[in-house]
Subunit: 331 residues, 2 copies
């Protein structure tokens, strides 16, 4: 029987429609995306040798044979630091200059890696670079929100093959983010605790949706997953801002993230995906009601008219089955 | 220079990034989707002769040579009328039975038509069937929201080729819908009028984003369009519920919709799209602060990590240019 399930954070609902249930194997990728990728491409702006194709780096980690990671301003940035964030009225409408910072983390010199196939050290460096840039960007008085994300593959909206993530700092905290934080404040009243901590307790006591539990992080398929194999990774320690991540947590997350993505890589045959780090707005790094987290969304389905119109997602897989499938994959 | 623009209804922001601007021609479809479609397929469950492949119709319009339009329950419905909408606690989580109705409007017996290539009468009948089913479904005491939508093509999330729309009635008014209505109530305080009427006045006085203006409807590319060639069609007369559409408005909308989609069909070479009719929740058919409308979203781009994480869409086309391009296409 189909059922509605509520996301305890956003209070949005999903429909889990088991009648049309798909098996995990049904989501494995078609062969079109399986061609061999070389470890270096002369025409790739992120490959070693083409450093002049990007603006000068904002942060670099060097190794014995040149750079191991570079963070550069996005050459095709949709937002620019030189513009004014001032609101202006245009007739009956509101606009503002496109102030903001858009940065690219070039994760490794090697063109054909992805997080699932990287070693611990490389993933740790990526997370470390996120933290360094997050901290630096949050010093800017006009920045109110910092979003870190990774688009992997064409279906996830990127055309660049070289392994990279992005960081975008905006003056605007959009309703999409602010409204959810407000709901978390209301939930704090109800539960007397952070609703994420509350949810995490629920997941850990039921255990059926947990994929990996480490000392400091839990990786699980949420009760009200919007789409097949959606995975969230939450720090066990309550922290509202990603900027508050500790060195120990970075070491731990490097493996939690790497192993989660490796399970997805093996089990679903290297699907395209988006991951996003959702953090409290900059002004509230100590919020008791909000909890930063990562969400990984493999691009296996397409939101259609019903999803766009209502925000209710129809998910044809049981999150419990997805978690079970991922748990069984050795990494 | 990139700029932020605010959607006056949802208060969400988009980034219009003209630096990366694409020309309308850049969005025309690749040749892969251009194979000839036959007017009848023996294996299509919606084609004449296969009426036994669908449940018995809920509504039919007959012509001289058999049916011209059929509305049937969705055989693979994600929601079912026999289930209980009662909320239940599962550990720390909330669920409910998947109560609801899911119906399919089989728009024409002819397999290879789409609204852009239909005649006035056929599109009028489709809109008429929406109204009949909307009215009928809204009588059900347990139904609180009715969503009408059309997914055209694989990129828009449908695998069925035969021209069809869908109607889904839910007991749940999700936050995605309710929160927006609440914002409209607040806006009613600010403007002393419906914010949609206010926006429509803005669009009609600037005129640069209007695609088609008829006696009763305005078709335009919104100031803060989330994606290229997004078009909204609003009734000029303030009405909060689609159920309140009059026969005259149906006649008028049939052409406004048909011509808008024909311009998109010609100008963008038959792209996949979703359209959605957003209507007030069932309990508030007379709300002074809400206004029903149609939104058409051609599937030309893919929302990626930044869009998913923040709700801020990066749009590389100017809505003014899209409207100008569509205006110039003769239909």
């Amino acid at each position: 029987m189909p059922e509605f399930r509520q996301n305890p954070i956003s209070k949005e609902w999903v429909v889990i429609a088991r009648e049309r249930a798909k098996r995990p194997e049904d989501f494995t990728k078609d062969s079109s995306g399986k061609e061999e990728v070389p470890s270096h491409r002369d025409d790739c702006p992120f490959c070693p040798g083409n450093e002049d194709k990007t603006p000068p780096p904002l942060y670099t980690i060097d190794g014995d044979n040149g750079w191991r990671l570079r963070v550069v301003p996005n050459k095709f940035a949709a937002l620019q630091p030189g513009l004014s964030p001032k609101r202006e009225q245009v007739g009956k409408f509101l606009r503002a200059g496109g102030f903001g910072m858009a940065e690219v983390v070039i994760e490794t010199p090697q063109h054909n890696l992805t997080i699932a196939t990287m070693d611990h050290e490389t993933v740790r460096d990526i997370l470390q670079s996120y933290k360094v840039r997050y901290t630096e960007l949050s010093q800017n008085d006009r920045v109110n929100l910092i979003t870190i994300f990774r688009n992997k593959g064409k279906k996830a909206g990127t055309s660049l093959e070289h392994p990279h993530s992005q960081i975008i700092a905006t003056p605007i905290v959009p309703p999409h983010v602010r409204d959810q934080m407000t709901k978390c404040q209301v939930a704090y009243d109800t539960y007397g605790a952070c609703v994420f901590c509350y949810m995490l307790k629920g997941e850990l006591s039921q255990r059926i949706r947990v994929v990996i539990e480490s000392d400091r992080f839990v990786s699980f398929c949420p009760f009200a997953s919007c789409s097949p194999f959606e995975v969230r990774i939450l720090p066990k320690r309550h922290t509202s801002s990603f900027g508050g991540i500790t060195p120990d947590e970075i070491e731990d997350l490097a493996d939690s993230l790497r192993f989660t993505l490796k399970k997805i890589y093996i089990g679903l045959e290297n699907p395209d995906y988006n991951y996003i780090i959702r953090s409290s707005r900059v002004e509230a790094p100590q919020a008791k009601y909000y909890h930063w987290y990562m969400v990984i969304i493999p691009k296996l389905t397409i939101p259609a008219g019903f999803e766009i119109g209502t925000g209710i997602y129809i998910n044809t897989t049981l999150p419990e089955k997805c978690a079970e499938y991922l748990r069984k994959i050795d990494v």
